[in-house]
Amino acid sequence: MKWHRITAMFLRHIYLYRHSLTRLVEIFYWPLLDLLVWGFVSIYISRLSAEGKNTPNFLGIFLGALILWDILFRSQQGISVSFLEEVWARNFLNLFVSPLTIGEYLLSMMLVSIFKVVVVFLTSALLAWVLYSFNLFILGISLLPFVLNLVILGWAIGIFTTALILRFGQQAEVLAWGVAFLFQPVSAVFYPVSVLPQFLQKLAMFIPASYVFEGMRAVIFGQGISLEHLARALFLNLIYLGLSLLFFFRMFKSVRAKGLLARMGE
């Protein structure tokens, strides 16, 4: 054992953090998100027991939420991780010097994400039924608008993230795993929006996923779904998808001008 070799490797990683803001932020990012999500879950459970209400179907609430959240995450990854795959394989330039247009590329990535979502959704639903006797299909026909909304939000986040990776290069690739989770605390995945502080409740109104998870809990509690909420989620999703596409095309133009597109592919 040589101390200078150990410190050399230590320095190598410290230098990395010194030059990479994304890696530095990541150190604090995950613990903070975990703290927020599990903190709000704890508040939700404490409130229920303090109010002396009947224990709700936690199995359904948590498993259903987890499976639906994974739809959003896989949908986003279908776009941004598929893009990164081309960068890692150094195949990126081969694609963008072919007649493939940006629109065709994005559409194909959306198809990939639908494929991923279907596979993950069916597998998770089957496992939840076999392992925990939880039937996700009790959500009935409402599953369809829930899934559709989460897929579209996943696309919007995925396209936005990919545009950032395109601009800032591989040092921004951690965003492909992290950005979706930024929405998790205010999406009220595992607890109702009412658990959040006032200012976060207002923010949640602009997060389409919050309407989906509120809707899911309403169905599990036998209250039915609010069509108005689903329509609002869809409306917001379409706006975000449009904005993310606009952002992507702008970034693409900008990286072409800066010569970064070619550099990213080599």
Binding site: E85, E86, A89, R90, N91, F92, L93, N94, L95, F96, V97, S98, P99, L100, T101, K253, R256, A257, K258, G259, L261, A262, G265, E266
Partner: protein, 249 residues
């Protein structure tokens, strides 16, 4: 020998600047059918930037590019241009988890090749890749990888081929075979090839004409023999050293 006919590619006063740095200083040149045009110059001379602008990967600051008479800056025309062009570089690779055959099939579809399966089989045969055709790309040697990249570059039977240091990682035997193959297709199919390499012997052997780039501008152009005579060099390598060390004709 300079090929005759109308140029397939025309570049007029093409410039590229990154803030105050001028990577390409308003260059003009043409590429004719059945011609191999070599881009020569030290690192940072602007060769790769020019190729990237021709491929639409980098947008020019000013100037004009016409390929098959079309403007690659216009999205619809770019699509038409790229379907008749191809590119390979030693710095790009193919999807490493796919097999060699699957990779070629993907690109055959991207280029809208008719009878894609037959075309892929033919390329595999032609580039002597049959033994490794069903192996994942990640298991290929650098020589096999280069052959695969070249096979990809021929998947759409391009009229213009852009090659950025295609033989850089090859042993002399495979590099020689690659050059011979390129000379053969140039002759038989009147393909126009734009070629960059730091191997001066290779450039001398393969190029019909050369453009000598330095600090983003073309400082000399002509056949390899003309350049050797103009710079009073012993060979192209000698000319390259003189230019890289700032000696002008």
């Amino acid at each position: 020998m300079t090929a005759a006919g109308f140029p397939l590619l025309q570049v007029n006063n093409l410039c590229k600047s990154y803030n105050s740095f001028q990577a390409v200083k308003c260059v003009s040149f043409e590429l004719y059918p059945g011609e191999i045009l070599g881009l020569l110059g030290p690192n940072g001379a602007g060769k790769t930037t020019i190729i990237h602008m021709l491929l639409g990967l980098t947008s020019p600051t000013s100037g004009e590019i016409r390929i098959f008479g079309l403007n690659p800056e216009k999205a619809r025309e770019r699509e038409k241009i790229l379907s008749r062009m191809n590119f390979t570089s030693t710095y790009v690779a193919m999807p490493y988890s796919l097999t060699l055959r699957e990779s070629l099939q993907v690109f055959a579809r991207l280029y809208g090749v008719r009878k894609a399966k037959a075309k892929v089989d033919m390329l595999i045969e032609q580039f002597e890749l049959k033994e490794v055709a069903d192996r994942p790309v990640r298991t290929l040697s650098s020589g096999q990888m280069t052959k695969l990249n070249l096979a990809k570059a021929f998947v759409n039977d391009p009229d213009i081929l852009l090659l950025d240091e295609p033989t850089a990682s090859l042993d002399p035997d495979i590099a020689d075979r690659t050059r011979k193959y390129l000379l053969e297709v140039k002759k038989n199919r009147k393909m126009a090839i734009l070629y960059t390499s730091h191997n001066m012997q290779e450039m001398e052997e393969i190029s019909d004409r050369l453009l000598f780039l330095h600090h983003g501008e073309i400082i000399a152009r002509g056949t390899p023999q003309e350049l050797i005579a103009r710079f009073r060099g012993e060979d192209l390598e000698d000319v390259f050293l003189k230019v890289a060390r700032e000696v002008r004709p």
